[in-house]
Structure formats: structure tokens, C-alpha cells
């Protein structure tokens, strides 16, 4: 069974969302990381970092305008 790590990075300024995601994927190595962000900039930055590190990224837009990023490896 793979681990799931959840991160709420909503409302945080650059570069904190991407730092939190980076720490999580470094620590987990494999599994699923779910990252909540509320800006398109954080969505792109976290996605770029995850893809660069070899993780698959899917993005779900939430009803209130934030984004749930599901990172898998």
C-alpha cells in the first residue's frame, strides 16, 4: 500500500507552496501527494517541480476556485 501525504498550501506566498511539495516528495520517494493551492502560479510551480522530479500530476479545480494537485509516483 502506498503512502498518501496531504498538504494545504492555500494562501501561502511564493515559494512556500513549492517548498512544501518539494519536501513531501523528497521524503516520500514513492506514493501519492495531494497539494491544495489557491493560485494558478502555485499550481504551475508545484506541477513543474513534480514533473521535473518524475512524478505524475493531475489537477482538479475545486468549486471555491482553489486547485487540488494529485502527485503520484
Amino acid at each position: 500500500m502506498s503512502d498518501i501525504k496531504e498538504i494545504d498550501a492555500r494562501g501561502l506566498s511564493c515559494p512556500q507552496p513549492v517548498m512544501l511539495a518539494d519536501q513531501a516528495i523528497q521524503k516520500l520517494e514513492k506514493g501519492t501527494v495531494e497539494v491544495l493551492v489557491d493560485s494558478a502560479t502555485a499550481r504551475e510551480n508545484v506541477s513543474r517541480l513534480a514533473r521535473y522530479s518524475g512524478w505524475q500530476v493531475s489537477v482538479e479545480e475545486q468549486p471555491e476556485g482553489s486547485y487540488r494537485l494529485v502527485l503520484k509516483k
Binding site: 511564493c14 515559494p15 512556500q16 513549492v18 493560485s39 504551475e44 513543474r48 517541480l49 476556485g65
Partner: protein, 367 residues
């Protein structure tokens, strides 16, 4: 439209933005802006502070349309692409202080990161010390970020709040066009409320409409591409990510070529436009600026673009910059081509102490 947006959000976005800024900034100089100052967010904030009478340095007073364009261009892009999201509540008073001290540091050097790169590409080698200082300041900021520094979370805010900064920019545009004068003193000097320099850098400007349109265009591009002249270096140090850094390289290369083509490339240390040759404080001023911008999450241009997206905290940072620019000229903190100001070095030291205390003490509080 969505194709253009996707392109600007790709790896090419910061590069295209950098090339556009690198070409248009020297063109603005050719059309009348001060030397190596096609775009300087801090210098232009200082000119706006002067035009509003927050300082009375008569040579640096003008309401710069580029700044207005940056905010309104970003607003238009954010509205079109559904990214206008009013938000606030992330340590506004600390951001105000960071804006003030960032400007103190930048005005000791005589330029924000945008102008540091533009000065370099115009052959002003004094900028090398400023850029080295900028890198060191950003590196110190990264150390604080790694230690857990955070200004805390913003919260969604009413739509109306997001319109405050764009509305202020529209008022500034009206003041620029109307230039109201309420009277003159006994010596015949205008008593304001709006002051425009009769001579000096403040009197040098490209035609209003051209400056405004270029500002709008850059604001639009930069909002889509997330262009940031401080984040570029921060991300390389922190994440080994050069996405934004390529934008800076593109800016410097394009500005060098354009300056060369327009006969504006004059290599050397001496007699550079609106610059001094004090290596230590060119370096030290930008250490402070780099640290303050990094703690606030982005360069002064980025703060303008964010405030156009409805970010009330970035708008408070911009307010801190304009008020700080007023202080910088009232208290002789800002340098001049003659050298550093009387209280410039002391202000940089005080600013560094304040920023270090902020870096060590600000942490996210749990609900």
C-alpha cells in the same frame, strides 16, 4: 487567446517577457526616459512619491505611466483568464516595512533589480556590484525560507478590495493628465498637490501614451508568465529551477543588443547615467533590497502585477515602497550621481537588522 496564454505559461513565457522588456526599455530611453532607466520600478515609485509631494527633491517628481500600466495590464490579464482573486491578511504591516526597506536599499544602489539588469546591459559596470549584492541578499532570504520563515496565509477578500489598487492607479493617471495646481507660494512656486520636475531625471520621460501602452503590454505579459526578477535567482538557489532565470538572461541579452543598436551602450564605471561608483554601497544597498524582496515573495514588478490580480498584501508592499521612497529623499537616504547619501549606509544597516529580525521571527501560526 487561450493559445497565447498557454504559450506564456510555458517555459517560453518568461523568455518572451524578458525579450520584450529588454527591447522596449531601451526604446523608452530613446524616446525620453532617463539613461538606463527605461523601466525601474523603484525609481518610478520614487518619482510618483515626489509627484505626490511625499518628498520635495525637485529633480525626481513625475507620475510614471509605466507603473500604472503594469498594474492595469496585469488586471486585464487576470480578468480575462479568471485569475482576479482578491485576497489579503498575510502580515500586511510587515510587508509595508519590507517595501520601505527594499526601496531604501535600492535607492542607495540607484535602481531596483529591473534597472540593475538594464544598467548592466547598457555598459554600466557599477551594476555588477549591485547584482552581486542582490544575489547575496536573495541567498540570505533563502536561508530564512529554509529555516521556516513565513508571512502566513492570505484569505479570500471581497471583490471590491481587489479593485482598490487598480482604482488608485486610475486616479494617478487622472492626476498625471490633469496635473491640478491649487495655487502658488509667495515665491511663485507651485504648492501642489501634484509636482512635476522642471529639470533632472523626473523631467525626462517618453510620451505619456507610449509609456502607458508599453506598461500595459508588459503588465499583461508578466501576469501570464509570472515574470519575476528576484524569484528568478531565488528559484535557482532554492530549487535548482531556472524557469524564471532564463527570462532574466533574455532581458539582459535583448537589452544589450537594443542598446547597442540605438547607440546607448557605453561601457565603463565612470559618468554612467544616474549612478555612482561606490562599490561597497552599490553592493550593500542591493543586499538589503534582495533580502527584503525575497522575504516579501517577489521583485517590485511582481508586487505590482500581484496587486493588479487583487493581492491586497502586495498592494500594501507597493504602498510601503512609495512611502519609503518619500522618506528616502526627505532623510537623504537615497544616493545621487555625486555619491551615497548622508544616511544611506546607516539606513542599509538598520534595514538589514530589521529584515533579519523579520526573517528569524515570522512563522506561520496554526489555527
Amino acid at each position: 487567446m487561450s493559445f497565447i496564454s498557454r504559450f506564456l505559461m510555458s517555459r517560453w513565457g518568461p523568455i518572451v517577457t524578458g525579450i520584450v522588456v529588454g527591447i522596449l526599455a531601451p526604446v523608452l530611453v530613446k524616446l525620453g526616459n532617463p539613461g538606463n532607466m527605461g523601466v525601474c520600478v523603484v525609481c518610478f515609485s520614487r518619482d510618483i512619491a515626489g509627484a505626490l509631494g511625499l518628498h520635495r527633491a525637485g529633480v525626481v517628481q513625475y507620475i510614471r505611466p509605466e507603473i500604472i500600466g503594469f498594474v492595469l495590464g496585469a488586471l486585464v490579464a487576470a480578468l480575462i483568464f479568471r485569475e482576479f482573486k482578491p485576497r489579503t491578511g498575510s502580515a500586511p504591516i510587515v510587508r509595508f516595512l519590507l517595501g520601505m526597506f527594499a526601496v531604501f536599499g535600492a535607492l542607495v544602489f540607484l535602481g531596483c533589480p529591473w534597472r540593475a539588469y538594464l544598467r548592466l546591459s547598457g555598459g554600466d559596470w557599477n551594476a555588477i556590484f549591485g547584482i552581486l549584492g542582490l544575489v547575496v541578499g536573495i541567498w540570505v532570504g533563502v536561508v530564512f525560507l529554509r529555516m521556516g520563515f513565513s508571512l502566513g496565509r492570505s484569505r479570500p477578500a471581497p471583490k471590491a478590495m481587489g479593485w482598490v489598487m487598480p482604482a488608485i492607479m486610475v486616479v494617478l493617471l487622472l492626476l498625471l493628465i490633469l496635473a491640478p495646481q491649487f495655487g502658488r507660494d509667495a515665491n511663485g512656486n507651485p504648492t501642489g498637490p501634484i509636482f512635476f520636475s522642471p529639470s533632472g531625471p523626473g523631467s525626462q520621460h517618453a510620451p505619456l501614451i507610449i509609456s502607458l501602452v508599453i506598461g500595459l503590454f508588459i503588465g499583461f505579459l508578466a501576469q501570464r508568465s509570472r515574470f519575476c526578477t528576484v524569484g528568478a535567482i531565488r528559484d535557482v538557489i532554492l530549487l535548482r529551477d531556472a524557469h524564471l532565470f532564463y527570462g532574466i538572461l533574455a532581458l539582459i541579452a535583448a537589452a544589450f543588443i537594443t542598446n547597442f543598436a540605438l547607440g546607448q551602450f557605453h561601457p565603463g564605471f565612470e559618468k554612467q547615467p544616474i549612478a555612482h561608483t561606490d562599490e561597497l554601497w552599490n553592493f550593500g544597498g542591493m543586499v538589503l533590497a534582495g533580502l527584503a524582496f525575497t522575504l516579501a515573495g517577489g521583485c517590485p514588478g511582481r508586487q505590482l502585477f500581484l496587486s493588479g490580480e487583487g493581492d491586497g498584501d502586495a498592494a500594501v508592499f507597493v504602498s510601503g515602497m512609495i512611502v519609503g521612497a518619500g522618506f528616502a529623499h526627505v532623510y537623504t537616504i537615497a544616493s545621487s550621481p555625486a555619491g551615497v547619501g548622508a544616511f544611506g549606509p546607516m539606513s542599509v544597516i538598520v534595514g538589514l537588522v530589521v529584515c533579519i529580525v523579520i526573517g528569524l521571527t515570522m512563522r506561520e501560526t496554526k489555527a
